[in-house]
């Protein structure tokens, strides 16, 4: 009886250890969060957002936002919203469905304010609406 109890204890201990090891492994080697699953910390239009970040633009780098704007041009790799926000797309083939001057809402990750082009840059963008 005593031996059985000990075995049971060992068995559960072993299972717990396995779970701990596995979750540690999963935590250490987890892939970066996908844009689809991350929540936007700002939702609104591009001009409002640019005003909001004007003082400290770099604090917003790598954050996920959802922006609405009018398409001012469509490039090979992304599109320009309101002439001030460049959205690099995750899936370039979606760009062919869009038209200039259309209003669109996208979700993307902020790369940063690019002063070579004087525009805000987002990447991994997906279309929301």
């Amino acid at each position: 009886m005593n031996l059985k109890r000990r075995n049971k204890f060992l068995f559960f201990g072993f299972i717990v250890l396995l779970i701990i090891l596995f979750s540690t492994y999963a935590y250490i080697f987890r892939p970066p969060e996908k844009i689809e699953n991350s929540t936007a910390i700002f939702m609104g239009n591009t001009n409002d957002f640019l005003l909001k970040i004007a003082k400290k633009p770099n604090e917003w780098n790598t954050k996920t936002v959802q922006l609405t704007g009018r398409i001012s041009s469509i490039e090979d790799e992304g599109l320009l919203l309101d002439g001030n926000t460049f959205c690099q797309f995750k899936n370039k083939s979606l760009l062919t469905k869009l038209k200039k001057d259309q209003t669109i809402t996208i979700k993307g990750i902020i790369v940063g304010f690019d002063d070579l082009f004087n525009e805000l840059k987002l990447n991994q963008c997906i279309i929301i609406k």
Partner: protein, 180 residues
């Protein structure tokens, strides 16, 4: 604030007038793997670059946009080593020696010279690259160079020193289009 904006506008205006070829989605790659350990490899396909007709090049890259396969590695890279919240970007300013778009052939070897700024520290870079004409209005620039963490005063704790290569290889692959 307004003054600053004005200066910023002026300086960008200047670069707009002189600019000729550009990319917003250049590919930059970092490799710092050592054998037998987890590969340290990051890619960034949101690099910006402008090349003028005279071969002057200005390139900018956001540290936070480097992607690793492992999130924790990406976090450490940003927080502990590159301190990307303090130094959000790296820049390269220099010249492609002898650049002449009208005389471009395939896989033409060129010399790339300039200053790489990472974490606010400048380092002179000289490297051999390759330029290929991809159309009548675009070309592709490939180059690589080696830097060391010490160049930019990046301290690596002794615990992980063996896992990080002494020399970090930076590969760039940019396709630049004519600005119309």
């Amino acid at each position: 604030m307004n003054k600053l904006l004005f200066i910023l506008l002026l300086s960008t205006l200047e670069s707009v007038i002189a600019q000729k070829y550009f990319t917003r989605n250049g590919f930059t790659e970092l490799k710092a793997s050592t054998e037998a350990f987890e590969p340290i490899h990051a890619t960034n396909n949101s690099s910006s670059a402008i090349v003028t007709n005279e071969g002057k090049i200005a390139s900018q890259i956001f540290i936070g946009a480097f992607k690793f396969k492992i999130a924790l590695m990406q976090e450490h890279f940003n927080e502990n080593y590159m301190e990307s919240s303090t130094y959000p970007k790296a820049t390269f300013k220099g010249i492609i020696v002898g650049f002449d778009f009208s005389n471009l052939t395939n896989n033409k070897e060129i010399k790339l010279k300039g200053v790489l700024t990472v974490r606010g520290i400048d380092k002179e870079i000289e490297s051999i690259g390759v330029i290929s004409k991809t159309s009548n209005s675009s070309f592709r620039l490939k180059a690589n160079f080696k830097v060391t963490p010490q160049d930019f005063k990046i301290k690596i704790p002794s615990v992980v020193r063996k896992k990080i290569a002494k020399e970090v290889i930076i590969n760039i692959d940019y396709e630049l289009k004519e600005k119309k």
